[in-house]
Symmetry: D2
Subunit: 299 residues, 4 copies
């Protein structure tokens, strides 16, 4: 029978917060197993999101946020039990996150500053729970604005078309320093090798239309078809650049009266809003990748 | 330790589905207690939404959907355990719903048909999981359209201003027949006595503006201030008619070019969309009332 | 110098309303020429929308709504002046519409009723200023609902794959009877011959995604990429079916929790809203085609 | 008869752009009169928006953008004709604007920077066609961020509750220097005397809810009713602070999961977007005030 009556922590003890992400083939007893492990650790579940693609034979996803007296001390015990009962016992992937350790992010940018400034500014306001450890750019256009936010700036140009050399420099700068990367309108295509070697998730933002306009000059093409909505998509980068799992999307209405330049400006507004949401949700472990799709437990 | 390895139901058995709603003062162990009760009953959780206003000393809300072999047979056992461990043990309100029993609804309307037709049509399409057992109106304007949907129509006029007589007739028609009532632009104010005596939730839809325009002719007043958005709010009716807990809201953009009649038309479009969502969510037990607020586990 | 002081019509005379659409290469004096012609006819401009892609060497579009004492009597005089000064003089296309003559429309449908019912219902409510003269379908599924609205229904099945025979029957039914056609989820591709021969505009609605998912099963593909928005596009049909000039678009948010069936249901909601707006705007001559784009003077 | 065949300006001449705003009691011949005056001046109309509340006896509004060879030189002639034929002849208000002279704006702020930074940043990006000539604040919190944009900052505290002294200082700073004022979350109520004496339009932004929650702590009250939408309204300030004519509005969805702090954060996002649009539209003379309403010829 379930235990109840667990005592609440004394008022003078500092509560710590953890997040537990569980993912895998659905089977009976997962919620029960996880909540019993937390209960035995004296943790109090403060938020639980769960999603199953199909009760029998589908995929299972759970994000649990809990408060506990001293996560640092508890972590080895918790991890041992999760490994035994959730990992080995139920055959599921799991990940335990101490929310007091903010994720470290590198932002890649080129010449356009709109997405970059949005992230720098929201981080300073306390709306993005990350540390921006560096901005990397193949141009110097955004250097001044980055330094005004007291964030390290690295200029890594692609010299003589040698993208491989630039990517080696990127890897050297990033190694062990970041938990994820954001491409904030970075206009270089990352190589498949880089994406494999960097070993952290990479988030990209790009414009989106209904219908899609492929190739060069999409805003021009959209204008010529009379589109009434323009949008943006934030997604994880896979080796197939614009085809990774989608994190978030947005649109804005436009009219025949918008010039191509105005379409681009409105597109920029959607891009910065959508990217900011995607980065916030990723940093709070609200986005679970599963193959080429995502489960997003948005707030 | 949690039990695992529960067998999945054999393929030839018919799965039944239940919903469990839990609400009350938050305390450690609730998720664990509930999931263990379901696990012991051989149930598989297919969806779980949980929300806590504050981990220590706040309010707790949980909606769990589960599949089980034969809910009819299991129900007494489940209810006994819920009463013991969730009700008495944890001091929480709980409610168990067999989803194969559709909620029965009465729709009240007056002359305007837009909200009424939206509900009748969505129900026929299979988008609202309810039985519309009757339409009640103080006018005959909508009678024909209701009959075209094969739904019983009751004309209950307010004769000589005797609203009490009309409400007695309403109570006679509704007694034991419905699980909730929808006011689909019903233009009579319900008395406090009726709301108490009817003993089922009543959902209302009304127009909303930013800012609010109180009193008669709100569209005219909105026009005179140059409002750019008009909206609608679906809420539970309390004795203070337009002040009950909000279920859902929506808005639509308008311009100076919209006449008062066009504002009303656009308002009607928002009303039918918002009311349809509110009715769908209520019928699926996605809306939990708590004092004058709501927790809405929207899909 | 401009003439002023034109007398307003006497109160006992019935005002008639006209719309004048002008389109062509931009050049100085167009607005002046048009407004002088109307002024001389005693007309009062009640609404004027004008758009120019580029002041020098661009394209010019104007929609003017005016009130005049007796448009029937004035029409020959007005048309003669427009032909001389706007057509021959300025080299522009022009079109004069008596708004008391409602446009006649044929709706083509297949099995899905959501778009069809939306149009029938809005027309009955007085929100679409058209006469629905017939509904044509290759199935009988929607026959009953159409007859309930007192609209003629024609069943024109494609027998043995002989689409040409069906299209001949369509042309026979439509000839001289309609001003435009709406494909309300009509699931047959119209031949290029039909589109040429029918000689009236054809409006289509289809689902849209960001990004686009081409080929069969788009909702399934969208689900597998984790899309967060689904949309719909209303456009004029050209021989390249889904590539004609866009009239209107809309989107709705979806989540990972929406099944493929629910994505389709939400898609249906967007489709009916977008198609209703497109049909309303076309019927009020608010949509001007120009090559493969549209100018939409939305209200 | 209208003149046509006006020659386009020679390619080597610099085109200048003007805007003409006309407002007043509707009567026949206004469009014609205005366009003839422009035609005679060799101007080419590039954009014309017109709106009439009621063709007979209503209010008339027109915004015309035109290109002309040398507006500086033409202006006296144009103004004389407008005064004679539009002002005296037709009894209408009119205003001629040389678009090469950017409007000068002062921004008032307090401690919150979100609206202020949005305006500074969009202006730097070239998205707001204004000169920000000063930022005035009753606190020093935003001083550093303002100086980073090279904009003069004036600290005008309210000392010992002497608001009148602060307002005298405001008037001294503003006199002759600005074309309009933006209150970007300026938390002091302006006196009626100040609003009269400053003699330029003042734009304010404030949060809006459906329904309205009056008095202190509106976000807290909204939370307690379970609101699902929060919004913002940009309006002209009249002596009745939050009741002036509305320029623009926006909303964002919220859920029960948003804390009061998160509601405020989302409210801040809507505020900056709505205020940026309002300032852009005002600066381009797209907003015409008429009594307590507005005509907004949005792009």
């Amino acid at each position: 029978m379930p235990q109840t009556g667990q005592l609440a922590p004394a008022a003078d003890e500092k509560l710590t917060e953890g997040r537990l992400i569980v993912r895998g083939a659905d089977r009976p007893g997962v919620v029960s197993t996880v909540s019993n492990i937390l209960l035995e650790a004296g943790a109090n579940i403060v938020s639980l999101d769960q999603y199953s693609t199909d009760p029998s034979g589908g995929r299972f996803f759970q994000r649990t946020v809990f408060h506990v007296r001293d996560l640092d001390a508890m972590q080895p015990v918790l991890e041992e039990k999760l490994a035994t009962h959730v990992g080995a016992g139920l055959g599921l992937d799991w990940r335990l996150v101490d929310t007091s350790r903010r994720k470290r992010v590198a932002i890649f940018a080129s010449r356009a500053e709109h997405c970059l400034v949005e992230l720098l500014w929201r981080q300073r306001r306390g709306e993005l729970d990350v540390d921006i450890v560096m901005v990397v750019s193949n141009h110097r256009d955004v250097e001044e604005v980055v330094r005004a936010f007291d964030v390290p700036f690295h200029h890594v140009p692609v010299v003589g078309g040698d993208k491989a050399a630039a990517e080696r420099e990127h890897l050297r700068l990033l190694q062990g320093e970041v938990d994820f990367i954001v491409l904030a309108r970075y206009m270089q295509i990352l190589s498949g090798e880089f994406i494999r070697d960097v070993q952290v998730p990479v988030i990209n933002i790009h414009h989106s239309f209904l219908p899609a306009f492929v190739g060069a000059g999409p805003y021009q093409k959209a204008k010529l078809r009379g589109v009434k909505l323009i949008g943006a998509t934030a997604h994880y980068v896979t080796e197939d650049l614009d085809e990774g799992p989608i994190i978030e999307q947005g649109v804005e209405r436009v009219t025949h009266g918008d010039s191509v330049a105005e379409l681009q400006r409105r597109g920029a507004d959607v891009e910065r809003a959508v990217l900011a949401r995607a980065v916030a949700w990723h940093s709070e472990d609200r986005v679970i990748r599963d193959g080429n799709t995502t489960i997003v437990f948005a707030p």
